[in-house]
Subunit: 299 residues, 6 copies
């Protein structure tokens, strides 16, 4: 009986959030451990379907760095990074497209479809499908400047590393109307047909902005943003983040991630979340419980 | 962290049921303690809204015997019962209509609306609204025969006690399409405009049958059906119920209730449930947990 | 043959009005003799259905003062009035809700449904259904001041006498789309769930304003507004009414009625009509003949 | 006041008929005096609009024999008839098309549009427009046999006199959906593009049959069908009509008209009416009063 | 094989034009040789259907001067012209309506329908149908002034010669939605029901303007506009046309035609074309090939 | 002028085919030279868009054998074939998915999108997206028997070579409604999530059957089916094909292709075509000219 009371309490705790988020769009950047471990993968698929069933529209953007690395290795090609960005020559770009669009994307689609019921299905897209992601060559100098990384870049050619120029949301809206869950690989194209390898965090942020999403959620392998004392910050605004960057509290690989959050907020997304993807059902818990896990970022 | 895992588990336990019941109609007979105690009332309203939010269509049928009794007393009128049925003369019928249609019905509507969000609202109906419940005078002899009550009825006139002749589901379907929750008072009318006081259990059963509902759920003040040993039966079929009636295990006031269940099943309703309305959120728990509380009846 | 010619003439006289009013909303305050006498009741139901059949959307708001009075008397409770308003303590409010929502409202619904054909049906509502009428405690001092009644009100507590704060037209629009005739009892509620007894004239006026109705029509037991010489005025504007109030030509119980008319006009209703409800089919005659009966009020 | 009572009575008499015929299609053969005299023309236009306003779908089929005769005369061409049918050589056919399609049809369209309000408009059609009337050369021998006219026909060539082969109702349905009143000239065409002059009564009957019309109404210059004693028959069935033809009570030009009625009934039209088009508003009076004027024919 | 290559090339040449014009409206003035010779007629019908099939909405406006002349002659009536305009007394107007609305219009409808497939059909309209063309008596003085024809006009009465006052596009839009091809005879009407004979070029121009058409195309019996040297001009703007009128290069009957073009452009039509209707399939060739035939006029 | 006549003729030749095929679905197997050479690729994209513009729904299924072979080689993996089927172990399957789903599929999508205008876009799918292709392990013994290849197969394990079990057309229908061109990679999945490499010809045939397509078109590197004399057969039926297989005229790799054709026909597809993909615009020429190129197969 006690157990029943507790169950009821937990279900009721979810009620106001269901009311609040019905009909809203959540863009979720999927990656890291949550995409690697079998049980976390299943929990993720279930979370996404749960959102869809209760009337939230989840849109997934995934990465795939480790998988690209393995494939390059298998093909005897070298992985080279500059400031966290993979130098992507023509041959590497082909591998990126194959691995992200042909393997990783489809395995996520398959994962969700295996647990789906009713008329709900996942559909995988790269930026080429439906003209979804128009990109251009990344302005590396500007990028590093923004990331607080003042390395000399004049001689630097990152090849097919790109940045989002325009998100054509038409295909996402059509899929949503017809009850599909879009799964997006972060590959863009320019009007001459060149493909670009884009940081999945920034694709998630741009997609969320273009869809005027309620939330953009980043699954990571950390507990959340840490403050000066090393404690996880549960809620933070842009101003304080900028200060923490200046003060060097946020640094290295965290900078692009929080920059992606800030970009989404500046385009009208209500909240950005950095979640610990190592907790099973972290998406569900963040959304439907009052505790909140990880760090939420508001403008 | 353990708490989080548990929360996630409970939310996930609900997932397959959400998938299963989406778009289905549940008719819920509301009465007894669940309609009398403040905390149970709030829990009931929340349960109903929860169903609606996740895409189930709840339809409520309520009783109101105690409230009618009080009002009659206040007006110096006598409450007279024959075999569990209130003898309803013209004056009593007026009180029944006033109390059920004017007070009890509207207080349930108000209760739900206070907790509702978005565009969801409750709307109260009696059988007269939209021509919902066409009724006729109860054939008392036949009724008592069916209930295993062989009293002489030749001289018996129960007055305005009625039985359902036809449910015109049009208004219920229109309200459902427009996102309302119908709340029904068990008052019917005949083509000459006479009003009838009908047992709410049978109204719930007839409405469920006419809507081809997935479930009809009766909130009661008992734990469920008891077997010969006095244990609560968690699942039972019609055949065994009939045997238990014959053997006198089910008797008295329980007979009409199980007869209402059987009637609904015979009209195509998938399952009938006798729940313990004294447990807060019993509707939610029955639907979204695998435990199941109370007794489920299948054909 | 002569009779045929006359018949044709009368039908043809109606034509321009049908053209003019098709698709428009008419709010009709129903009360007095028209609600008391059997033949007038039938004629009223037929008029309302006639409007609906030819594409006008009638919305009915009814009163029920005499019925409340009788019920209070039967229950040994006293009717107390201050300046035409019924002092409504908690117990009285319960009786108001029961009588208006449970008896009067449903008997009007029944009356219309008995004469209805096709897919047209009446549905009864109180202000609680669909959240239709949000109300608050009447500001008695302000009210009496507006009615030109300068009695001291500091110590006055009218209890649950309310005024309209907001009309949520959603349920009315949904019912209209689905071909129902809404019948409204003048009971409102506040966000804490308290019920209020509101003057039906002002409810009709507020509903007409919120629906941007073409006309608001008041059925009364008088021939119309009288001028200084005691002649019925067939058409009048707000300015002249105000002058007539100042000069004491309009006085007493007529003041709230004309104030309700003026309020509706100020919210965009095209015309208000004070009709003699004692004439059978007065609604039909007013709308479909060029004579015009009673008094029309324009801004 | 007495006048008001009478007015109300007449309007109320119309009510059950409005209920009954809402959404139904009435095909009206327009011709004779009703198409010649100014006041009758206006009354006809008003009747048609009245039907449309209250939700009935009128479809008009017109003749134009006298106008064709006049034009032929003006052009120095001879009018030749065999058994009531106009011998229609190529030159005459051109005149038929010009007069019916260019003059008579458009003047009826204009007549209706002048009195129309709102978004209602008449649109004129010949059988060529939208492929409405596919026709073939009349089988004269068979025709005369059916009309009980046993003249030798072997050598007879009536030229472009046709009979209906198929009514393509698509254009009529589209016009109805978009709120237009179709006005049809009785000119058909075959798949080789030849035009045919068809008896308007039979076109009306075929259109009514194809539309599964509620009624087909023929405006004539007689009071109705006469029985053996010369009294007008108010209601008659097919069996009795056939007997009256056999007995020679119905003869000559009345035979094709009643045959057209019978044909419509055999194709599912509910009732056929032969009305006296010389009575102003005869259509309105027939439909909305209980008297009934002229003769109604049922199967 | 060479032939195949050429075929493919020609089909591919059409592709960008199909892309460009899909969903756009083209108003085509049909007349002259294209309406007289059998093979040109068939080619015209095929062109119009081709446009419709690929998603362009053709609207046809036709003339019929020669046919009117012949009919007048046959009836022993005189054709009288002033400055290119037919003096149209009452009797002539009747002939105009008969010939245009009853013969010419329906023969074009028939022509198109014979070659049509699927659900596409032509429907003929005069200005009276659906209230399409509201007209008024032509202001002859102003007209001649605009055409650079300074004859004294005080005593001139052209009778029923009219000019467009208003195009009510509703019927055209409804026909387009339902997949019909409208064929319009240039007859207008005023609010008193008078008919007017209007220059078909100006009707085409006004219809194109009211529909915000992409193109208005005039089929003529000339190669195109000629410049000072007598060469056909392939593209020209309004300014240069006006200069050519001033310089007398454009003169006589060409002035009204280019004025009609200019009027259409001033009302938002993108381009006007003067085509040589003697070339089979000139419409198709103009639209789907890059050559362009005849003269295009832009603002 | 002669050239114009010819152009018009060619455009007109296309007309009846446009009429005939509007709204129909064509499934096109894309492969061979048409997918390898730059100019043929552009011509193919243009053809597909041309179909879409004029209202035909093209669905593309592509192969990619050579690309898979190259990638395997680059990765140092061996390509092994048995009876024309690639032995597909787990590692090879991964390469198949990567190359088909990530590279070939997306490059075709990109190719089409570069030439597309308006709101038309291509979207790439594998059998996993939207649950499109449910497959199972190929029954090799049965397969070789059907292909007339009686090799011993008991010991044969082709690994992930699959055959179609079920095509879920839902995603194709949704994409068609929303104006997308689906491009399908022949990768299927079973309910346990295993991926299968399926012969693209059979996928095209199964998709065409499931969509009740008008045509299934195979682009090949041959002129068409050859008869005993080595002449290309322009039209042939199933019976004669079966005879030609028996007689050994059709043999080797052509057998699976004609079997795929026969399978499509047996599932209700109207016609199958084997086209010479080396002819630029062969799809367009086949569909819009009367010559017909390659071989058409009818049941």
């Amino acid at each position: 009986m006690e157990r029943l009371v507790e169950k009821a309490e937990i279900l009721m705790e979810a009620l106001p959030f269901i009311t609040k988020f019905r009909g809203k769009t959540f863009v979720i950047k999927y990656g890291g451990n949550a995409m690697a471990k079998a049980d976390l993968k299943v929990a993720f698929a279930q979370d996404i379907l749960m959102l869809k069933y209760i009337g939230i529209n989840p849109v997934i953007v995934h990465g795939g760095g480790p998988q690209i690395g393995q494939m390059l290795k298998r093909m005897g090609l070298e992985s080279k990074f500059v400031g966290g960005l993979r130098v992507t020559d023509r041959e590497t770009m082909e591998v990126v497209e194959m691995v992200l669009g042909g393997l990783v994307n489809k395995s996520i689609v398959m994962l969700i479809n295996r647990y789906a019921g009713g008329h709900i299905r996942a559909v995988g897209l790269t930026g080429k499908d439906g003209g979804l992601i128009r990109a251009k060559k990344l302005d590396a100098q500007e990028y590093f400047r923004q990331m607080g990384d003042f390395r000399p870049t004049e001689l630097l050619d990152l090849g097919h590393v790109g940045e989002v120029e325009y998100i054509d949301t038409q295909i996402l809206k059509h899929l949503e109307e017809d009850n599909y869950i879009p799964v997006i690989a972060p590959v863009g194209f320019d009007t001459e047909g060149n493909a670009y390898n884009i940081n999945a965090d920034f694709v998630a942020s741009a997609v969320a902005g273009a869809l005027k999403a309620e939330k953009v959620i980043f699954l990571t392998d950390i507990e959340g943003l840490k403050d000066e004392q090393g404690n996880t910050v549960s809620s933070i605004n842009v101003e304080r983040i900028n200060r923490m960057i200046e003060e060097g509290v946020i640094k290295g690989g965290m900078i692009p991630k929080v920059k992606a959050c800030i970009q989404a907020l500046s385009q009208g997304v209500k909240k950005a979340h950095i979640l610990d993807g190592r907790i099973p059902h972290c998406v569900l818990l963040e959304i439907f419980t009052s505790e909140g896990i990880g760090t939420e970022i508001v403008s």
